[in-house]
Amino acid sequence: MTRIQPAATVTPLHPAAPTAVERSGGEPAVVLENVCKTYGRGASAVEALRGVSFDIRDNEFFTLLGPSGCGKTTLLRALAGFEHVSGGVIRLFGQDIVDVPTHKRPVNTVFQSYSLFPHMTVSENVAYGLRRLRRPADEIRTTVAEMLQLVKMERFADRLPTQLSGGQQQRVALARALAPHPKVLLLDEPLSALDLKLRQAMRQELKQIQAETAITFIFVTHDQDEALSMSDRIAVMSEGQVQQVGTPTEIYEHPANRFVAGFVGDANFIEAEITSPIGAEVTCRTKGGLDLRANGAKARPGQRSVTLFLRPEKVRLAPKGQGTVDGQVETIQYLGNACLMEIGIGEAAPVLVSERMADVDQPRRAVGDRVGVVFDPRALQVLEE
């Protein structure tokens, strides 16, 4: 069996990280093949991962997105080595690491609770990994300084973690995990404890740090905005299974199934029957008897009953009588930059419409208004079964 060496012997710390160009096109950073994990046994067994398979490319900002309890943390812990998988293969740059102990995996973790060593100063925390790898003292000193500079924490080098704010601890945790220059960095909801403004600033910064260090980031979140704004690619998970892997655009614009469509952003689902031949554009009849033209790219040949999917911001409102169908505003949620409305069109569920408040003399909607609802046949998609 091939064993992975600790980062110490495989990769000398790169003072200048290899560029993305040099490393791209190579083998994937992480390959997961049918990874399973069951906690406990017998009646109380929990299947946290049920056959997870996908690749993570080198130098990629990869996000695991999914609702609470779907197995994101379990997958990350399996990668770090804290949890032994029940089945399957995990390859790190080609080498099976399932039986490699945690401290020999060239992978570092940023914990959700930061988990800084409370009895060590900031710089001792950052130096910890390098010391364990027996790096020379002057190299440790320069790397620690570099890392603290990278996360803008130079001024706090001699403080104890208890003397830092949550956001500052988070930066130190990041510096500590980056200092040994791991091949893969794992981040378990590192931003969830921060306030909204700080969280948004940190998104940019994380992305920038990833680009600078050229380390593969695997980022766990249940926040879809975070996932969409930061990731090169996203894996959407649900109940221990991967639902879709793709770029943010693919995930948002062309969700693979109803779960992904509903979890990543708001969505309208309309049950309908196809009444035309299957093609790029199909005609469907809804349960309420409405005839709609829709994008049929994902429809299977011979398929009859389908779910149509439409993002709320892709629906346009027009004066009454000028839309695809007329409807009545049932509820309005004012969001400042947009209004989220439910509009009854005689179907089982009202249509969710998001109207941007971009125009100064845009008509103000009120509950009870009658409006025309315009469905764009390119945006209304047949969902894959």
């Binding site: 770090a80 804290f82 401290h103 060593f117 500590r176």
Partner: protein, 284 residues
């Protein structure tokens, strides 16, 4: 935590007053509390005071002197007994604390194993066994196996009853410690041993110190078990004091007791300071 809030100046003190009054309002509670404290500390105060008495009749004050202390320090038997006490306490504490630390680690970090609950019970049960039972049992056990190590017998006996006392604070500390810190250490290329030495042990140290000090004080203080187990030359200080009293109470007894008391106070104070100043194991 001190809250300084100048927007509501009048409310806070009034609340405080009300609380104080409520305490005094329970009839007789204050008196009872004072009686209790007097009952507890007055005899000790008297004992210490009379250790400075000039005369040699215990309860008749004739003047201040430190002669009895001089006499205590000049008494070779007392010195021997005190030395024995310290040797026993130090050895028993060292062994008991080590065992207790290992036991606590096995229980809190060793994962699930058969009989885990029973193990915990067995370790802490001696706290509930009457001391005289332990004493007789130990005596019978030692003589039946013919163990005769002199002071060694006393050390073994003390180690045994000190383990649960050392175990409790160590376990409490360990239970409250965040396991992700140890995971973080392993994640950062530390082996199990390095993780223990660099993360677990330093964070556990206040608990270990607390356990050690507790067992030290318990060992120094022990009378019944030592009385049963100790041979003629292996007398410890409490046993020696008891034998002095049997020959009549002199202020010399008061003086030895006061020294022992001072020693305990020093230990407890030291314990208090060590446990207060360390950062918590999961303080962020």
């Amino acid at each position: 935590m001190v809250v300084r809030d100048n927007t509501i100046p009048a409310v806070a003190p009034r609340l405080g007053e009300k609380k104080r009054r409520a305490f005094g309002e329970v009839p007789g509670l204050r008196t009872l509390a004072f009686c209790f404290l007097a009952f507890l500390y007055l005899p000790i105060g008297v004992l210490v005071a009379y250790s400075f008495n000039d005369g040699n009749i215990v309860m008749v004050w004739t003047g201040f002197s430190t002669d009895w202390y001089v006499k205590v320090f000049g008494n070779a038997d007392i010195r021997k007994a005190a030395l024995n006490s310290v040797i026993v306490a130090v050895s028993a504490t060292a062994i008991a604390t080590t065992c207790a630390t290992l036991a606590a680690l096995a229980l809190a970090r060793g994962g699930a194993f058969r009989g885990k609950g029973a193990t915990l019970g067995i370790i802490t049960l001696p706290l509930m066994v009457p001391e005289i039972v332990t004493a007789v049992a130990t005596l019978v056990f030692f003589s039946s196996i013919g163990l005769n190590l002199g002071l060694g017998n006393v050390i073994i006996a003390h180690t045994t009853f000190c383990i649960p006392f050392a175990f409790m604070p160590i376990r409490a500390r360990l239970e409250g410690m965040d396991t992700t810190l140890e995971q973080a250490s392993r994640d950062l290329y530390a082996s199990d041993w390095e993780t223990f030495r660099l993360v677990t042990l330093p964070l556990l140290m206040p608990g270990v110190l607390a356990g050690a000090m507790l067992s030290f004080v318990i060992s120094m203080d022990d009378f019944i078990i030592t009385l049963m187990v100790a041979g003629a030359g292996d007398t410890t200080l409490p046993v020696y004091i008891y034998s002095m009293i049997r020959q009549g109470i002199t202020p010399e007894v008061n003086a030895v007791s006061s020294i022992l008391l001072l020693f305990s106070i020093v230990m407890v104070t030291a314990y208090w300071f060590t446990t207060r100043q360390k950062p918590g194991p999961n303080a962020h």
